[in-house]
């Protein structure tokens, strides 16, 4: 189905099942331990052996020798695979560094070998007997030190490295009110609960990989490319994923080393990355240095806005696109943005939830707070004065929907923003300095082709098959709701099967594009199935209706299953998009509000309450949507207050490589969260009229906290995370 004109009324608009706060249909499987995760397919084939990955002990250099003699002789060891005996390996399209290193080493904990043994414990013990000698080289590990040598990265279209409109320099210089400030965000880890894990089994030259992966088609392709197999010979199965946040968008070493290990051991092999390897072996969100300049009239109209961002990556890696939102969020006639990329020998930087916008908003939305203060304007008012209903770089492109101002105003009202004391440091509650902060939320809505197959059987049950994944987001549930709505069925008459490369290719889970696109693909397949049902029953498809398990036309009405009485009816289709995203800018908007306390003695920051207001198209399921947003708000608290991969700049690795050292928020950090979704449908986005939500909820949260800390203390911290040591020396006497 080609979606190239705005959606009109369609069966989804009935909202009998879509739009309801349905519980997750996969919830009982998960709470009773029956959802099978990647490392749990013990019964899928022959008894598996276990692989344990050895990571490089240096960040850059060469392996001079590997001595496997002791490891090979260890109890239970079946095979050891390293670059020496792995055969020729390609590199996946989505990988920057090789997944099996050696003799060259590209980053710390790059895999150099996998030890396969009968049990996990034996594999781990033997892995510790592998002796690798290295010759280390000097690497580049410090973003701020390499900043001046950073280059303009290649990039086209939305990814282009630079944009300019009008005369930024002139307008900025002439502006009566100016801000020129630099902000930094640190490297961050996805820190998902389930480690990267895979089990591989070969049948001749055909490979099955049970894995934990967000993007089945990308990864199937990259497995084939890496192992030099035809794509048809690779099957990926990933029905349940214990969190990803972008860390599982790509093929990683667990999958490739399971495959290589299984080939060498002639047996299925399981590999899970130990927690320290997740930090330094897999991808992370790269650190940024961001300079923001804003010039405004005394009335608070932005006349010049400039945003530059520096980040680093391995050779051939891409930049963190932290300036993206600044191209779209606020008005201003004179504008510039620029990305710069430095070469670093740290582990690979890549997407983490809301790549680009998440760190970009962390900086931009502090800058907006600083500007509002200089202008003596309320932060909500200043943003509202600079709202734009068109793409400010291309004023002929309107936004399809843009309710930023509504989000801020409603949020301010509901949060009691008027009670905020505009004077920083002015509010005291016992030992606490109390402050409120807000920030806009913004994230683009991305359209991606997405396919699905639907099957109708004689019992009237519809089974949906798509390689879409559910990374804890609720995909199973909203897909079931879509099929149920389209086919006029109750939810329990729909079965959803996901995450299998033998199913039609979907958008996958990433970039908050999963929900809207994958359900639209299911919509398209259901439209075809409705036609097939009508045809089979000899009904005129123009006036057929599907409801309560019945198909009706004129005065005839039969149970849906009757259409499949002799044989299953199968329909398959994809949603594909025309030019609507070119003619209209599609984005999602919101506003975050936070109240927190800062301990006057210790400068510990403790949140009191948070509110997010979102305008993001149709909300398919308010319960799973809320869950996405409160999870994202929690992640924003981590980004604001604690998350930082600490770089050892001498040897080039992230030192705090477990969940004791890399802190993410715990329950005690999150006392109260509220979410509001504005009633919105966006007919430009898809037949579902929905957009993404999962990343919107993160964008802006950290800045709202930073602004609240400033409001509480009068201390402006521009370097994340905002830890007490950055406040302590400026705090008033207790």
């Amino acid at each position: 189905m080609k979606f190239d004109t705005p959606a009109t009324t369609n069966p989804i608009d009935q909202l009998k099942i879509i739009g309801h706060a349905t519980n997750r249909i996969d919830g009982p499987l998960k709470t009773t331990g029956r959802a099978t995760y990647a490392y749990e397919w013990h019964d899928a084939g022959a008894r598996p052996a276990y692989g344990y990955v050895v990571g490089s002990a240096i960040a850059k250099g060469r392996i001079t020798s590997i001595d496997l003699s002791r490891a090979k002789a260890a109890p239970g060891v079946i095979a050891i695979v390293s670059a020496e005996n792995a055969g020729k390996l390609g590199k996946g399209k989505y990988n920057t560094a090789k997944l099996l290193g050696g003799p060259e080493i590209d980053h710390y904990h790059q895999a150099v070998a996998v030890v396969v043994a009968d049990t996990f414990e034996q594999a781990r013990a033997a892995a510790q007997l592998v002796r690798v000698d290295y010759s280390a080289e000097k690497g580049s590990f410090d973003l701020s030190a390499t900043r001046d040598g950073a280059a303009k990265p290649p990039g086209e279209g939305d990814e282009k490295a630079e944009t300019a409109v009008g005369d930024f320099a002139g307008a900025f210089a002439a502006a009566p009110v100016q801000l020129d400030a630099t902000y930094t965000t640190p490297d961050q880890s996805h820190a998902m609960m389930e480690p990267h894990a895979s089990m591989a089994a070969w049948e001749g030259d055909k490979l099955t990989l049970w894995t934990s992966n967000q993007m089945i088609a990308w990864t199937t392709g990259d497995v084939a490319k890496t192992l030099g197999l035809p794509k048809e010979n690779v099957r990926l199965v990933s029905p349940f994923i214990g969190g990803g946040f972008g860390g599982k968008l790509f093929l990683r070493s667990d999958a490739i080393l399971a495959a290589l290990g299984a080939r060498a051991a002639n047996r299925p092999v399981k590999v899970a990355l130990q927690r320290p390897l997740i930090i330094n072996n897999t991808t992370h969100r790269p650190a940024t240095i961001q300079r923001i300049r804003i010039g405004a009239t005394r009335e608070g109209k932005i006349s010049a806005i400039g945003h530059e961002s520096w980040s680093g990556n391995l050779p051939e890696g891409s930049p963190e696109t932290a300036v993206m939102q600044t191209r779209l969020l606020y008005a201003g006639e004179n504008r510039m943005t620029a990305l710069r990329l430095a070469m670093l020998d740290l582990p690979e930087g890549n997407s983490m939830r809301a790549p680009g916008e998440a760190p970009g908003m962390m900086a931009l939305e502090i800058a907006m707070d600083e500007m509002a203060e200089r202008l003596n304007l309320d932060p909500v008012e200043f943003r509202a004065r600079n709202d734009t209903q068109v793409d400010p770089e291309h004023p002929d492109r309107p936004f399809s929907q843009r309710q930023l101002v509504e989000c801020m105003r409603i949020g301010a009202e509901r949060f009691g923003w008027s009670r905020r004391n505009a004077k920083p440091g002015g509010q005291r509650d016992g030992r606490w300095l109390v402050g409120m902060g807000m920030a806009a939320a913004f994230r683009n809505n991305l359209l991606m082709k997405s396919g699905a197959r639907v099957r109708l059987d004689s019992s009237g049950t519809v089974t949906v098959e798509t390689d879409m994944t559910d990374i804890g987001t609720g995909s199973y549930t909203i897909i079931a709701q879509t099929a149920a709505e389209m086919m006029g069925l109750p939810l329990d008459k729909v079965v959803v099967r996901l995450g299998d490369s033998s199913f039609p290719v979907s958008a996958g889970s990433g970039g908050q594009f999963g929900a809207n696109n994958s359900t639209s693909g299911v919509y398209a397949a259901c439209v075809k199935l409705r036609e097939a049902v009508a045809q089979k029953l000899g009904f005129n498809s123009a006036d057929v209706s599907f409801s309560d398990g019945q198909v009706s036309s004129g005065n005839q009405s039969v149970p849906l299953g009757q259409a499949a009485a002799d044989s299953e009816l199968v329909a398959e289709d994809s949603i594909e998009y025309g030019d609507l995203a070119k003619t209209h800018q599609q984005s999602t908007f919101g506003a975050h509000f936070v109240e927190l306390g800062v301990d006057v003695a210790t400068a510990e920051i403790r949140i009191r309450r948070m509110l997010a207001v979102c305008a993001a198209g149709r909300v398919l399921n308010p319960k799973t949507a809320r869950s996405q947003v409160i999870g994202a708000m929690t992640m924003g608290v981590g980004a604001a207050l604690m998350e930082e991969l600490a770089v050892d700049k001498r040897t080039g690795f992230f030192v705090n490589h477990d969940l004791a050292g890399y802190e993410v928020p715990v329950h005690a950090d999150i006392p109260h969260q509220e979410t509001i979704f504005l009633d919105e449908t966006d007919p430009m986005s898809s037949p579902m009229k929905a957009k993404g939500i999962g990343e919107l909820g993160l964008c802006g949260v950290a800045a709202a906290l930073a602004n609240a800390v400033y409001n509480a203390t009068g201390i402006r911290v521009r370097d994340y995370p905002i830890t007490l040591d950055k406040l302590l020396h400026h705090m008033p006497d207790a």
Binding site: A57, P276, A601, T602, D648, V655, P665, A668, L728, A734
Partner: protein, 316 residues
């Protein structure tokens, strides 16, 4: 993890003797620290002696009017004990600020005292670490040191002792009771249990080979207001950046021990004498000779400010 042999000890003396009889044995209690370290091969005992069967799970009054806490009393049980909560509130509060409910259910009194540092370089066997591999060097010095010691550190090691409970025990003047392989027992003042790193950071306590902790005794209650203040980035489930355990009497005198700053609970009796004169006076003495790094120099101000908050809270 390296292979090891395992036995369950059925008497304290037998446990100590078994430990002495094997060149590289360890006692295992709750296992919440030891097992993690064994998986990473930071600890590689060849023999494990499980002491969980020994009858050290009681809290009993001593003749001196104090309490004897069995070495195996779990952190949860100790924190919840009515006598501890009434007379030694500092200990209860320190325990409850540590780890998580699940961990405290397993963690024992002796194991908690003997838990090892959380220096991240100690946990990465690719890195030089004098504590893990004597003589290999210290990767932390010159590296990432926000958590590390500011007091009592050496050129060999700047690690801290991470226990919250030990800070309270130190302020309460606890005594550690042990039995040695030859069956003799001794009582070690808590102040003498942990050592500073010096040139031998791998030797962390004054216990001898095979010496088994049987109990920890607390002297008669000293009254006063008991406050344990643990400062950290997140609200729970994090080790202290700095912690202050204090007992403050009505007249402003009292005791104070500080955590997160050294290789052992840090208490300076001369500094305590300054308590009536306020936090600044105490901190000046307490932090005398501090050698912070660039990453952790904030701990000096943090100690003083936290102390000030604690003393003012005690005044009520």
């Amino acid at each position: 993890m390296k292979s090891f042999t395992y036995e369950k000890a059925n008497s304290p003396a037998a446990a100590a003797a078994a430990a002495a009889g094997s060149s590289n044995a360890r006692f295992i209690a709750g296992g919440t620290n030891l097992l993690d370290l064994m998986k990473l091969e930071i600890e590689t005992p060849s023999h494990l002696i499980d002491v969980n069967g020994l009858a050290f799970d009681k809290i009993e009054p001593t003749q001196e009017g104090g309490l004897r806490i069995g070495a195996l009393v779990r952190n949860t049980a100790l924190a919840a004990d009515e006598r501890i909560r009434r007379d030694y509130g500092l200990l209860s509060r320190a325990l409850l600020s540590g780890a998580s409910g699940q961990l405290r259910n397993k963690a024992t009194t002796a194991g908690n005292l003997l838990q090892r540092t959380r220096c991240p370089y100690f946990y990465d066997t690719n890195q030089p670490c004098n504590k893990r591999t004597p003589g290999s060097g210290c990767a932390a010095i010159g590296g990432v040191t926000r958590q590390h010691a500011v007091l009592g550190s050496s050129e060999s090691c700047i690690a801290t002792h991470p226990s919250d409970m030990a800070i309270a025990m130190r302020a309460l003047d606890a005594t550690v009771e042990t039995v040695r392989p030859d069956g003799t027992t001794r009582a070690i003042p808590i102040a003498d249990l942990h050592r500073l790193p010096g040139e031998t950071p791998h030797i962390e306590t004054t216990l001898s080979a095979g010496e088994l902790i049987t109990s920890v005794t607390l002297p008669k209650p000293v009254g006063g207001t008991h406050i344990y203040r643990k400062v950290r980035d997140r609200a729970s489930y994090a080790f202290a950046l700095v912690s202050v355990g204090a007992i403050v009497q009505r007249d402003g005198t009292g005791r104070v021990a500080v955590g997160g700053v050294a290789h052992k609970p840090w208490r300076v009796e001369a500094a305590e004498a300054e308590m009536p004169r306020g936090a600044k006076a105490v901190a000046t003495r307490l932090l005398d000779g501090a050698r912070p790094t660039r990453d952790n120099s904030f701990k000096l101000a943090l100690v003083e400010r936290t102390l000030a908050a604690v003393l003012s809270e005690a005044k009520g």
